[in-house]
Symmetry: C2
C-alpha cells in the first residue's frame, strides 16, 4: 500500500494545529482541501483517523500516521540540509516538544539556545505538568518530552536528566503567623497554599507526608504562572513548593524560609523522544542533556 504524503501532511497539520481551519492556514490551502486530503487518507486506510472535535484529536490509528508524517518531515529536512542547499530550498522543520512548566522557566531555554546554534530547525514547545507530558508523547502530539515518567513510552528512547528540587517555602512573616506552633495537620488546614493548577500535586504530596492520608482542604490560591507563583510567595499570600532555581536567592537573603527541616522534594526528570534516525533530533538530545547539567544528581 502506498501513502500519499500530501495527505499525510494534511493529517499531521490538523492534529498539530487542532482544527481543519488552522491547518488550512498553516498549509496555505483551503479548509475544504484539507478536509478532502484527510478523508482520502481515511478512505485509503479504511478507518477513522481524526475525531472532528474541538480541538481535533487523532484516533489511535491516526496517531500512528501522525508519527509517520512528523518523522518523515524531519528526515526530509535532514537530507536536504545535508545536501548543503541554501535558505528556502530546505523546507522548514519544527520539532514538537512537551516541557513541564518549571523546566521551561528554568533550564530548558538553555537547551533551546544550544539547539538553535546546532540546527536550522525550530522547536514547537508545549507546556504541561511533568506528570502529563508523557501523554502528549504517547498520543503523537509531540516527538519529545521532558517528563517525570521513568518508564519509556512505547517507541521512545529515554535519558535520565537528574531531578528538579522543590522546597516548601514561605516568608518569615507568614511562617510566624501560621506555623509558629509547628507544621502539622492543624496549621496546614488553615494556612493558605499556592497551587499551580489542578494537575499540580506537589503541595498535597508534602501535606500528606506531614498529616498522613486525611482530607486536606486549605484555602488555595490557584496561580498558573511560575513567575506569578514566586511573586505570590514573596508577597506572603501563601506557602508552596517552589523550584529551587527560582528561589535560591530569596532563600539565601532570608526573604523566604523553608517550612521546616525536611521541606525538600526531588522530582526526577527524563528526556524521552521517538526513535528516529535524525540529525536534528540528535542535536536536540545533546542540547537537552547539556542544559540539564545543573539539575540535582542522584547519589
Amino acid at each position: 500500500m502506498k501513502i500519499d504524503h500530501g495527505n499525510l501532511r494534511a493529517l499531521a497539520a490538523v492534529v498539530r494545529e487542532g482544527s481543519f481551519e488552522r491547518a488550512a492556514s498553516a498549509l496555505n490551502v483551503t479548509p475544504s482541501a484539507v478536509s478532502q486530503r484527510v478523508k482520502a487518507l481515511e478512505a485509503r486506510m479504511g478507518r477513522l483517523l481524526v475525531q472532528r472535535t474541538v480541538p481535533a484529536v487523532p484516533t489511535p490509528d491516526g496517531q500512528v500516521l501522525v508519527q509517520l508524517a512528523e518523522q518523515t518531515a524531519l528526515l526530509e529536512h535532514d537530507a536536504l540540509d545535508r545536501l548543503g542547499l541554501e535558505g528556502d530550498a530546505v523546507p522548514h522543520a519544527s520539532i514538537a516538544v512537551a516541557v513541564n512548566h518549571d523546566s521551561l522557566e528554568t533550564w530548558f531555554m538553555e537547551a533551546a539556545r544550544l539547539f538553535a546554534a546546532r540546527s536550522r530547525a525550530t522547536l514547537d514547545l508545549q507546556s504541561e505538568d511533568q506528570d502529563h507530558t508523557a501523554a502528549l508523547l504517547r498520543n503523537g502530539s509531540v516527538m519529545g518530552a521532558v517528563t517525570a515518567l521513568a518508564d519509556p513510552v512505547q517507541g521512545c528512547r529515554i535519558h535520565p536528566l537528574g531531578s528538579m528540587r522543590y522546597v516548601a517555602t514561605c516568608t518569615p512573616e507568614f511562617h510566624a503567623r501560621h506555623f509558629a506552633q509547628g507544621v502539622n495537620a492543624r496549621s496546614l488546614a488553615s494556612a493558605p497554599v499556592l497551587v499551580f493548577n489542578r494537575k499540580d500535586a506537589l503541595q498535597a504530596r508534602f501535606a500528606r507526608k506531614v498529616m498522613g492520608d486525611v482530607p486536606w482542604q486549605p484555602p488555595v490560591w490557584w496561580l498558573p504562572s511560575s513567575r506569578a507563583f514566586v511573586q505570590a510567595t514573596l508577597d506572603g499570600l501563601g506557602w508552596t513548593m517552589n523550584p529551587l532555581p527560582l528561589i535560591n536567592e530569596a532563600l539565601e537573603s532570608g526573604r523566604l524560609v523553608p517550612l521546616r527541616a525536611r521541606a525538600t522534594e526531588d522530582v526526577p526528570l527524563y528526556w524521552q523522544h521517538w526513535r528516529v534516525n535524525s540529525q536534528a533530533m540528535e542535536a536536540l538530545t545533546q542540547s537537552v542533556l547539556a542544559a540539564a547539567g545543573n539539575l540535582v544528581r542522584r547519589r
Copy 2:
C-alpha cells in the same frame, strides 16, 4: 421552585474542577454522591446541566446555575465575614478569574497582593490569551476576567484598564543578520519569529501591517511561557512582539532593539466581572483598577 444548594454546589464543583472525581475530592465526598446530587438537580430542572466529557462542560442551562452557585457562595462568605466570625466559622471563598498571560506575568500579581490585604477570599486564576478570556466569563467558568473584549459580556460590568504596549523586538545581531535590507515581505518571510501559542495573533498582525494580507509562513519557535519568550528573544532565536514592561530594561541597555520605527502595538485591556453585590468582588475590582495604573492610557 426551590433549589437544593448542596446539589448546586456539587454542580459548580464539577464544572470548576473539570471532573466528578476531582469535584468529589474537593467536596470531600464520594464521586457517586456528587453524581447523585447533579442528577437530582438535573431531574428537578428537567434538563441536562453538564456534559460528561473530559473535562466536564456545563450546558448553557448548567452555566446559569453555576453562576448562581458561585454568586451565592460569595454572598454567604460576605455575610458571615461581616458577622465578625473567626477563622473556620467562615467557609472559605475563592473567586475564579481569567487573566491573560502577559498581565499575569506583569501587573496582575500586584492586584492579587492588594486583594489579599483587603479580603479573606483567595483567587482561582486561569491563564488564557487576552482574546479568549471572555469565553470563560461567558460560559460561567470564571466570575471575572482581564480581557481584550471591549463589549460587556451579558450580565457583566466592564471597566477599561488602559493598554498593554507590545514592541516588535530582536537583538542587534539578529537585526543585522535578517533586517539589514529593511523590514519587508522578504525579510519577514525568512526571519525566525517567536509565537506564544496558536492563539497568539500579535506577530501575524504586525507582519500583516508590513506585508499586507499575503500568506506568511516564516520559521516559528512556539514558546508558551512569558519568561522563556523574553529569554529566547535575548538569546537571538527570533524576533517577536514583547510586552514592554518585560523588556524595558533590555531596550534601554541596547540588548534588544525595535524592529523599525513604528514597531509598537497597544492592546486595550478591560476588567469584566459578573454583576454581584459582593464585598469581595468589590475589593477585587478596586485592587485590579489600582494595580492596572501603570498600563498605557489612551489619549
